[in-house]
Subunit: 196 residues, 2 copies
Amino acid sequence: MARKGETTRQMIVAAAAPIFNRRGYEGTSMQDVMEATGLEKGGLYRHFSGKEELAAEALRYSLRQSVKLRIEHVDGGHGALALLRSLVKRFVEKPSSMPGGCPLMNTAIDSDDDNPTLRGLVHEALRDWRMRLIKVIGDGIRNGEIKTETVPREIANTIIASLEGALMISRLDGNRVALTDAQKSLQVLLDRIAAE
Amino acid sequence: MARKGETTRQMIVAAAAPIFNRRGYEGTSMQDVMEATGLEKGGLYRHFSGKEELAAEALRYSLRQSVKLRIEHVDGGHGALALLRSLVKRFVEKPSSMPGGCPLMNTAIDSDDDNPTLRGLVHEALRDWRMRLIKVIGDGIRNGEIKTETVPREIANTIIASLEGALMISRLDGNRVALTDAQKSLQVLLDRIAAE
């Protein structure tokens, strides 16, 4: 019974995640989630105390899906710079698996003023992403691949900023040009930090 | 009387703009605007057919304010590269005058799925910004300042993507580090396209 409850809970989260991602916290109602899952109000509130708890679980789910898509099977076999290029390439080719675009950006914009729980989750996801890149760049400095004067945080922030900003432009333009443009510029930056 | 009506209309737009920018289209009600302006429902609807018309006017206002802040008095006296550096510097120092952050990014994220009017306005603002940068870069190529093999659109998209993405990071982090990091990386890119 506990297992069946957990399965239902996970099913609700998976169904709610793309709705919250597309419409935002304010734009999503428990009614929308009831319609998407076919559950009655009682069924939904048996699993979640309310919209806030469900939105937080849905965001955790969306962020996990994003991270998975962005790092799974990325080829890291040929050093730090090759890994950074592969991570950029992956983002450009598969920016998001979730309808509505990148959950990090969506929630950062949607929640920056008045939803501390969601904002906290998305800030944590940003810090994780940045720390992962900083570690790769640090490894590259230590093994002599990357110039010692490189500031890992600067490069990590630039990679994230360029990719997320390019995704926004790309969605407005309705094509992938801004993403491949960002990839080319990041290539220039990564060539520039390569040790001679 | 017509003049008084126009003044009231402009006052409503100026009061509604930061509300829509912070809370988004879905998160803002005509009630919120009534409270902010002190107008009754009848007073509000005398000037606007409804939320959609008011939101569009408010967005036009916010975008105009942003553009003004980002280009006004920017020093363009020393060639194309100096102008690009000044425009980047201005954005990093004064990313937005509007409570709630950049109206372009906010509306792009908020409206990408289901609000074609607002999405159209923000796409137009993006294209204007990009065309302005492309023109500066094209001038730099023609006057021999910038390498002829440079693709202006690539550089323009990268500048916009880096700055907008960095602003998102910066707002999450609660500091300006990501913006100055993006500025440094854009500096590297601009040095790289400078003719030898």
